[in-house]
């Protein structure tokens, strides 16, 4: 099978209240990604946008960014989900043989809409929506279930927030670089127990873009330094209704991870750095279990042992993670971009020394119903 490379990346600084429109943010990152690849928009064959009609407040949201994404006069299509799934669709298009070099671009303006109201509409209107569940309250149910099953504590979860906000201090794109303590997290406002404000990712604005190319064209268009290969991918979905799942069971992620590792031909020991979807503090250890880096139920304890800090064997979320900026749907693509920068050795003060194999993880649906796992490498 022909390989696909990421040949260019671009992202905005993630902020809480950007005063540009989402089209303008897309314009900014599409140009950054083209410049990074050293190509022009003429060399882009087609565009995959990642957007949501509800977040944008207009239907067929893809069309609203057709011009600024470089999609004018070309084929343009959309993924409504996390950016990691957008990269998957972009790669599939290239591997189908029907499409050439592909721009994948995501945008989000959380500050213009209402997080609780929009995430509530992801619930079945025939059953659960009327109860008023949203992203934070349903994740709180998952957090407590995980505590019950693993014996993990709120203080252990708080350590994730401390670590990731600390990592963000080395990332100029992050929204919330913070030097905080476990006590700060514990003392922050209780939103829905056991989740406190500093256990939760912020409302963010921003955009991100990657340019994908098939091996032959990638080698023609770019230098070796810029190319990072999409070596493996896996994805899997669990049950829709919260009550039909055990919220502490990571079976879907385990399947997705195995597919990705098998496709890339890597084992856990080969992975040098990981961007894991920490929309909430407890999610990092839970997903680290699903990815295989911790035994089931051991995630919180391993966090406490400092196993995933920047100077550890496996740094997790060197970018600061979703806890430090969570533009919904952009967030997983930002993780992919962090992996590209790490593999290139361009991650600045947060560079993981000698990083050659990187893992990016994204989720879709409430409480991580669906997972996408990427293995990238030089």
């Amino acid at each position: 099978m022909e390989r696909v490379a990421v040949i260019g990346v671009g992202q905005t600084k993630y902020e809480t209240d950007k005063r540009e429109t989402f089209h303008e943010l897309v314009w900014e990152v599409a140009n950054k990604a083209l410049n990074d690849a050293g190509i022009t928009v003429r060399e882009i064959d087609n565009v995959v946008t990642i957007s949501s009609d509800f977040w944008d407040g207009r239907t067929i949201s893809t069309m609203a960014v057709s011009d600024t994404s470089g999609g004018y006069d070309k084929d343009i299509t959309t993924v409504e989900g996390d950016g990691t799934f957008g990269v998957l669709y972009g790669m599939m298009r290239i591997l189908s043989g029907s499409f050439g070099t592909t721009m994948v671009v995501a945008h989000h303006k959380g500050s213009e809409s209402n997080m609780a109201g929009i995430t509530n509409t992801s619930f079945d209107p025939l059953v659960e929506r009327k109860l008023g569940l949203d992203a934070i309250t349903s994740s709180a149910l998952q957090a407590r279930r995980y505590m019950t099953v693993s014996g993990g504590t709120e203080e252990q979860f708080a350590l994730v927030s401390v670590k990731n906000h600390g990592n963000a201090m080395r990332n100029p794109f992050a929204q919330l670089p913070m030097d905080i303590t476990v006590e700060d997290v514990m003392a922050s406002e209780m939103l829905a127990s056991p989740l406190k404000k500093l256990d939760c990712s912020p409302v963010s604005d921003g955009a991100a873009a990657v340019v994908l190319a098939a091996e032959r064209s990638a080698k023609k268009m770019t230098t070796n330094k810029k190319r990072v290969w999409l070596n493996g991918v896996g994805h899997c979905t669990d049950a829709y209704r919260l009550g039909d799942r055990d919220l502490a069971d990571t079976r879907a992620l385990k399947k997705a991870a195995k597919k990705a590792y098998d496709m890339a031909g890597v084992t856990l020991d080969d992975i040098d750095v990981a961007e894991v979807y920490d929309a909430f503090s407890y999610m990092e250890p839970l997903w680290l279990e699903g990815l295989g880096f911790c035994e089931d139920g051991q995630g919180p304890e391993q966090i406490e042992r400092g196993n995933f800090t920047l100077d550890s064997e496996l740094p997790v979320n060197p970018s600061g993670g979703r806890l430090s900026a969570n533009p919904v749907q952009v967030a997983g693509l930002a993780g992919v971009i962090e992996c590209v920068l790490q593999c290139r050795g361009e991650a600045g003060r947060r560079q993981v020394r000698g990083a050659e194999v990187a893992l990016a993880h994204g989720i879709n649906g409430m409480c991580g119903q669906s997972h996408c796992v990427w293995i990238l490498g030089k």
Binding site: T12, R19, E20, E24, E28, G57, A116, G117, N120, P125, L126, V127, E128, K130, L131, G132, L133, D134, I136, T137, A140, L141, Q142, A143, R144, R145, T148, E189, M190, L191, A192, S193, P194, L195, A239, R241, L242, G243, D244, L247
Partner: protein
């Protein structure tokens, strides 16, 4: 991006999209809501293939991808598998004034959990593993809120 706001006054349009829908509840859930509304009973359906009992009922077994025409009446009681005390107000969404409790209740006689409210108890007294029973509204109109909440039982 450069700070364009120093050169030009920013214009902001407030907006709102109001689109009414009329969703059919379908063959399976309609039956469930009518039983709840008229008889005050909570029913579930069972997969003929693997025996998994679902509540609320489902059209298909998620594991076997089979029709589920086997209906069973549940006692209504269950055990709190997980819960959250909602403290922060969410205008327009909260079913009651915070603090209040959401829980996943593992229903007796079923293999799945039901998400609902816990009431009739101080929020800080709610625990995982607590036994609960449904409290029904007197006037019922065929909604999930016909169950007012689940309350702890001895």
């Amino acid at each position: 991006m450069a700070d364009w706001k120093s050169e030009v006054e920013e214009v902001v349009f407030p907006g709102k999209i109001c689109v009414p829908y009329s969703w059919t509840v379908g063959s399976t859930l309609s039956r469930w809501y009518v039983q709840l509304r008229d008889d005050g009973e909570i029913w579930a359906n069972r997969c003929p293939s693997c025996g998994t009992v679902y509540v609320p009922p489902k059209i298909k077994c998620i594991k076997c991808y089979k029709d589920m025409n086997d209906w069973v009446k549940l006692p209504g009681t269950g055990t709190i598998e997980t819960f959250t005390v909602v403290n922060k107000e969410r205008p327009g969404l909260d079913p009651k004034k915070p603090p209040f409790v959401y829980a996943v209740i593992k229903m007796d006689g079923a293999d799945t959990g039901m998400v609902h409210l816990i009431g009739g108890v101080e929020p800080e007294k709610v625990k995982v593993g607590m036994r609960v029973a449904p409290v029904l509204e007197k006037e019922r109109d065929g909604h999930i809120t016909d169950i007012k909440h689940f309350k702890p039982i001895a």
